[in-house]
Symmetry: C2
Subunit: 114 residues, 2 copies
């Protein structure tokens, strides 16, 4: 598994992106989705995820709905209007960051002449 130090700073954006794509999700589901999309390489810890979700909620970026499923409580999170208008910006920033990282780690990237 990838050392999750690397995730620092991008967790918020990852959460927002997934919620944008999937409409609404609960915490556990988010961790599973990330594992799925990264072939098991990134595993979110709940100690990091839940504080982020709660903070996003307190900032008015997410809203929660509690539902009961098999006698277990599920807390669904979804984007507010404010959240929606923020996501694209955040994703763009993250993509720009990824490109920058590639510029450093992989500086020879460019047109390949055959």
């Amino acid at each position: 598994m990838i050392q999750t130090d690397l995730i620092k700073g991008s967790l918020r954006t990852i959460v927002l992106k997934l919620l944008k794509e999937n409409g609404r999700m609960y915490g556990y589901e988010i961790t599973r989705k990330v594992e799925e999309l990264t072939a098991g390489k990134i595993k979110l810890t709940y100690g990091a995820l839940y504080p982020v979700l709660h903070k996003l909620e307190s900032e008015g970026i997410l809203i929660t709905e509690q539902e009961n499923y098999n006698n277990r409580i599920r807390v669904y999170y979804s984007l507010t209007e404010k959240g929606h208008s923020l996501v694209s910006e955040k994703i763009r920033e993250l993509m720009e960051f990824i490109e920058s990282l590639q510029g450093i780690v992989n500086p020879q990237t460019g047109p390949t002449y055959a």
Copy 2:
């Protein structure tokens, strides 16, 4: 400029990668190189860089040589043997992380059918 939150966790690897490529560098030079490689998008702060450099030195991953250039002291950093054997591993991890991020942010990536 990209919010440097995102840099968290990858700063160490960035430094190691640059030192591997350029042999030896001084702190200021590293910040310039990162700006150059990222088209000004990533600007390292000295409050982040120097502690990282000092820590890497204390861990035996870097060694320093002080030189005088125009009455200004320059502290050159370069990889130790231990450092060299660590870099490839760290770079591989970072690249894997970048790929994983892309898997999340850009899930539709794949062959494009014209």
